[in-house]
Symmetry: C2
Subunit: 320 residues, 2 copies
């Protein structure tokens, strides 16, 4: 215990010093060992909260990774250090995330001001929101000026991850317009900035118009940020400096709302930690694996209903 806490302290110190190997090790810890991660986060937490968090989300195939790489290059030219957490919907068994990192890191291989890390969406201990969030905390504590969280998908989970950032960029590509209709208000609501990437494709202007007309249905109050719709070509870099300027403008415009936004993120993080700890309490002190299997089997075969089962488990868990 004392040796692990010593090495934990050492790791935390090395993260705070910005050591890339320590950052990598810390993020692996967060993925693999929730209890050790808790200790680490406790040690670095007071030194976090300084990085600006950019969430980049959108459906697969819209070119988010290329766009994020361009943002990284642009931020480096502005002398900001950057960390990237890319949530990658790859099987933990395929090694795809690691391969992806290697390819992506080559672009910034000689630049110690950049750290890129992919996280697989499966096989995590604890939820994806926790691991993503804590990886961003590590990069923040390591002194990165900007942390980009890139999530693939337009699902609820990804949206939740992206919207806890200081600014959320939703990336789409020119399509038939069905996409925008299908996205509808629920997804539209979370975006602070829209990007139509692959803007050289046919239908890019129609796509921009389609998003703008959807936005026109929403009411934006006096002084409230109206999400702009930008066009980019991530492969050539076109439109990327406009995007960076827009992010700066948003940062300034949204400063009064940021404390509230960060409180929302904090509340969500606390809820997730509590839920995970309760799950562990059940596993360790209330239900053995065998009894759990018996209960699941009884429910699956309809001899027991899940709420009656849950009420009984809760009584035991809470020592009532």
């Amino acid at each position: 215990m004392s040796s692990s806490s010593t090495s934990g302290a050492t790791l935390a110190d090395r993260v705070l010093a910005g050591d890339p190997r320590a950052i990598a090790r810390a993020i692996s810890l967060i993925e693999d060992d929730e209890a050790a991660a808790a200790g680490l986060v406790g040690r670095i937490f007071a030194r976090t909260g300084r990085a600006y968090l950019i969430g980049v989300t959108g459906p697969p195939g819209v070119g988010k990774s290329t766009l994020v790489d361009r943002l990284v290059s642009g931020l480096r030219r502005r002398l900001r250090t950057v960390g990237v957490v890319a949530v990658d919907p790859t099987s933990p068994f395929s090694g795809g995330a690691i391969l992806g990192d290697r390819i992506r890191m080559q672009m910034h291989a000689d630049d110690s001001g950049v750290f890129i890390r992919s996280m697989a969406t499966r096989g995590h201990l604890g939820g994806l929101a926790r691991t993503t969030d804590e990886a961003a905390l590590v990069l923040d504590a390591a002194g990165k000026d900007v942390v980009i969280v890139e999530t693939v998908g337009v699902g609820q989970d990804e949206v939740e991850i992206a919207r806890t950032a200081d600014v959320t960029v939703l990336v789409l590509v020119p399509g038939t317009g069905d996409e925008v209709q299908a996205l509808k208000a629920g997804i539209m609501e979370i975006a602070d900035v829209f990007v139509v990437n692959k803007a050289d494709r046919e239908g890019a202007d129609r796509m921009v118009a389609s998003i703008e007309s959807t936005l026109a249905l929403e009411s934006f109050g006096e002084g409230k940020w109206r999400p702009p719709v930008l066009k980019t070509q991530a492969t050539t870099g076109q439109g990327v400096s406009e995007l960076l300027e827009t992010l700066d403008r948003f940062r300034e415009a949204s400063a009064p709302q940021q404390p509230e936004r960060r409180r929302g993120r904090t509340a969500a993080r606390l809820r997730e930690i509590l839920s995970a700890q309760f799950g562990r309490h059940l596993d360790d002190h209330v239900l053995g694996a065998e009894e759990r299997d018996r209960i699941v089997e009884a429910i699956a075969t309809r001899r027991l209903d899940p709420y009656t089962a849950a009420a009984d488990i809760m009584r035991r868990a809470l020592n009532k």
Copy 2:
């Protein structure tokens, strides 16, 4: 209390009798009042487990709703009754889901063998997985032979919802092939059947080939189902009977694995119920809103770290 439990019993009886108004009322209850939902589910649960659950998922704009409507018509021609739960990423404030239902129901307006219900992804008490799952239970208890759960998105949440079905259909459209690459193994793994919809579009065959070559990288054991890749045009109905036949074949082929799959779904449902009940316990008996706000503020301003806060809350919650 006794009057609400009486009306609960009445509602449950009417659901079991297949009354469409009772089904609608029961699903609203599930969305709005988790405690009442628990009572209802307890009353109908023993009569569930008979419907065949089809999960249909995929990115926005691929034509899932149209395809599901075609599946409904096809199943009706085969004299099966059908329930549809469509998870709609619409703001709960926009009324989009309700409007969507009206439009979609018109197609089957005179058919008492069909019940379609959209659920918004926001503003639910409890998680989306719970509400979707319980809405499917209601349709199951109401005697529908087949229940289709349609989720928009390729996010982790949607995938989890879809994969708890008896069979999962992943719908894609012809694209540049980036999409398939971006989907990768993590998402590919969950599909039992792939559908390339809008197959009249350019690149449909390339898309089929691309999915098949991705599947070729996976190993399928002896006697294990190898996900087929079908082409459909939902707008004309082309390919839909082949899809229905494929679903029948899957049902037969996967019968030995179904109990295990249903146990997995049951375990996930129980976990979610327990987690929600613990959250309610915290709100009702451990942390007042004011104290919670104070703790969140202390974390947000870095005076307290979230794990120390969580450890303290857990001690109090568990009466230790």
